[in-house]
């Protein structure tokens, strides 16, 4: 299994501008549910955001003090910090459609 680490700027196509979507995924250790969420997120981002995003993965077991800032209660929680306003999606992100609605991403196709 791939260790979860803070992954920054997963830019596929080269554009020096700030990515449009800034996402944070809060997890607590490498539970199956966390890994599930992570892989679901990757898939959705690659399919629908194509490089125009940044994902930060925060492991609350390592940095519990970060939980209060974003009012994290449920695990896993995906927070869209940009664009404003902030949105939260909780759960393992298995329903792509709901994630897209939640993140307010218009389908490209």
């Amino acid at each position: 299994m791939k260790p979860v680490k803070q992954t920054k700027a997963k830019t596929a196509k080269t554009k020096p501008t700030e990515p449009r979507y800034d996402l944070r995924l809060y997890v607590a250790g490498q539970t199956p549910r966390s890994l599930q969420a992570l892989s679901n997120l990757k898939k959705i981002c690659e399919e629908h955001l194509t490089g125009n995003y940044r994902v930060e993965i925060i492991d609350l077991l390592k940095k519990p003090q970060l939980a209060a800032g974003d009012q994290i209660l449920a695990i896993p929680t995906l927070v869209r910090t940009l664009p404003k306003p902030a949105r939260k999606i909780i759960g393992d992100l298995s329903n792509t459609e709901r994630v897209l609605v939640g993140l307010d991403i218009r389908l490209l196709r």
Partner: protein, 577 residues
């Protein structure tokens, strides 16, 4: 011995006054306790006081997870109770974490758990080594998350986790319809459940607390009234006080000299209960004021509960009979607590009395009038309340003086039927006779002392209450102007007696004096006679001498005498002088 060696449930003192007595030592240590009740019944305050007392009194830091109010709001809300949450947070004795879920900004997709809550709680507990936790109220989560199944299982896990963590937790829950809490938290928290209640009775609100369940421990099972005031919560274990109070032999003055005399010269017993009944305007309040004044003069502390007058009014009125209660108030010896009896429920009155008595450490308590509590509840309730007051005062060693308004033609029974509870009962009456109305009093009973059986008239003078002497007329005790007339007559009689006495003395004196005069007269006469006698003797001698001289010259002329003058004497006696 076997009982003692058995491991007992460890308890954590709450520091909430009265609660630790009811629970026999506090909440179960290391276990969660559920506090439930309707809106505004004091759940959050209960929890916060548990944390604050733990942090300040017992050295147990606490964590407050608030699901409803922000930390700032909480701090503001309890600042009036003297709880400085911000300072506690600065000194690392308290952590407040506000957890909220805004449903509008959250979407749910797929499975999740509430590990975030656990992590935050764990971090907070570890950051200050907390021993106490307040969750206020996790039910708010039900509004934010739609997956009730997950929520329930997570809450169950949470309470188990708290237990494992060994923290003493208080969880609040809003009361639901037909259930203790809206979302059935009681299913998960089953060690100790405390119910808070907020009841309106005759337009007055009384807060009550009941321990519904306390696994592994005995506890008081009744409903106990409690009070929220500037000292926080206080619960009153006021029922079932046994008759175990001590009995002092010490006597204390009634403040009225004449009344002291009627009670075998020494006044009431300390720690006894005194009831003064009478119709309107018979001087009940005045009697109470005298008692209070006497206590303050002895340097004791007194509380006067006035249900009919404001403190200023009472002080002004008592000044008219020469009692300056204002100076005792200024000195801090007297506290006048004035409130309309309908301002609170019955229990609330009792709670306030408890409170004030503890605060002022009063030796003397006057309730004026206790019958004012009557409209506050059913006869049974009021009777029970008065019983509690009497018992409670005796338990604390304070002397209680109650006044009660009685109907004029039914003097021997009080509406409160408390006459059997009190030790000394003084009856005040108006007697209408000869077209006037006069105040009399008598001691109906006074346990444990010889007391006067007389009906005494008393006057409200500018120097206080004064008992008059007893005058019996043909129709019984004379009062008012009849007594005054009798007093005047008596005075006249006395005067007459005194006058005749004087007369008699005078006449004897006159007789004596005349005798003296007579004696003097006789004395003078006696002296005169004596003088006469002396004079007569002297004359006689002179005559005799003259006669001799004459005879001599005669003899000489006859030449019968020699030149030497010697002459033969006719008798020997004369010739030899």
């Amino acid at each position: 011995m076997k009982e003692k060696s058995r491991p007992r449930l460890s308890k954590a003192l709450t520091g909430i006054s009265g609660l630790d007595e009811i629970t026999l030592g506090g909440l179960p240590r290391g276990r969660p306790t559920l506090i439930c009740g309707g809106a505004g019944c004091g759940k959050t305050l209960f929890g916060l006081e548990f944390l604050v007392r733990g942090a300040t009194k017992f050295g147990e830091p606490g964590v407050c997870i608030s699901f409803e109010e922000s930390g700032h709001d909480l701090a503001m809300n309890v600042a009036s109770l003297g709880f400085d949450l911000e300072k506690l947070q600065r000194t690392k004795k308290l952590v407040i974490d506000h957890i909220y879920i805004d449903k509008s900004e959250i979407a749910e997709t797929g499975e999740y758990d509430l590990e975030g809550l656990f992590i935050r709680l764990d971090a907070a507990i570890n950051s200050i080594g907390a021993k106490r936790v307040l969750l206020d109220t996790p039910e708010a989560l039900f509004a934010g998350l739609s997956d009730v199944g997950v929520l329930r299982s997570e809450l169950r896990r949470l309470f188990g986790w708290l237990k494992e963590k060994g923290v003493t937790a208080v969880i609040t829950g809003e009361r639901g319809v037909g259930t203790l809490t809206r979302h059935g938290l009681e299913e998960y928290v089953s060690d100790c459940v405390i119910l808070l209640d907020h009841r309106v009775q005759n337009d007055a609100v009384t807060r009550r607390l009941r321990i519904l369940k306390y696994r592994g421990s005995t506890h008081g099972t009744n409903e106990y009234p409690f009070l929220i005031d500037e000292h926080g919560i206080s619960v009153l274990p006021v029922t079932s006080l046994g008759l175990t109070h001590g009995a002092s032999k010490e006597r204390i003055s009634t403040g009225i000299a004449g009344l002291d005399d009627m009670l075998s010269g020494q006044g009431y017993f300390r720690g006894s209960s005194i009831l003064a009944t009478g119709a309107a305007g018979t001087g009940k309040t005045t009697m109470g004021a005298h008692f209070v004044d006497a206590a303050c003069q002895r340097g004791e502390s007194a509380i006067l509960f006035a249900f009919e007058e404001s403190p200023q009014q009472l002080i002004r009125n008592m000044r008219s009979i020469g009692l300056d209660l204002g100076r005792w108030v200024k000195k801090g010896l007297l506290h006048i607590e004035a409130a309309r009896p309908t301002a609170f429920g019955l229990e609330m009155h009792l709670v306030r009395m408890h409170h004030l008595l503890a605060e002022y450490k009063a030796n003397v308590v006057v309730i004026d009038p206790i019958s004012a509590l009557l409209p506050g509840g059913s006869a049974h309730d009021v009777h029970a309340l008065v019983l509690r007051i009497v018992d409670f005062l005796k338990q604390s060693g304070a002397t209680g003086f109650f006044t009660s308004v009685a109907v004029e033609d039914d003097m021997q029974s009080t509406a409160l039927s408390i006459s059997s509870l009190v030790d000394t009962w003084i009856l005040l009456r108006n007697i209408e006779v000869n077209g006037e109305r006069n105040r009399v009093l008598y001691v109906l009973k006074s346990r444990g002392m010889a007391h006067s059986n007389q009906i005494r008239e008393f006057l409200l003078t500018p120097h206080g209450v004064q008992l008059r002497d007893v005058y019996l007329g043909p129709g019984g005790v004379l009062t008012g102007s009849a007594r005054v007339a009798r007093e005047a007559e008596e005075r006249r009689e006395l005067l007459r007696q005194r006058q005749s006495e004087k007369d008699r003395q005078l006449s004897v004196k006159v007789a004596l004096r005349s005798l003296d005069a007579k004696i003097a007269e006789l004395q003078a006469e006696k002296e005169a006679r004596e003088n006469q006698l002396i004079a007569a003797i002297g004359e006689n001698e002179q005559q005799k001498a003259a006669l001799l001289a004459e005879r001599d010259s005669l003899r000489r002329s006859r030449g019968m005498i020699d030149s030497s003058g010697r002459s033969p004497r006719p008798n020997g006696r004369e010739s030899k002088p």
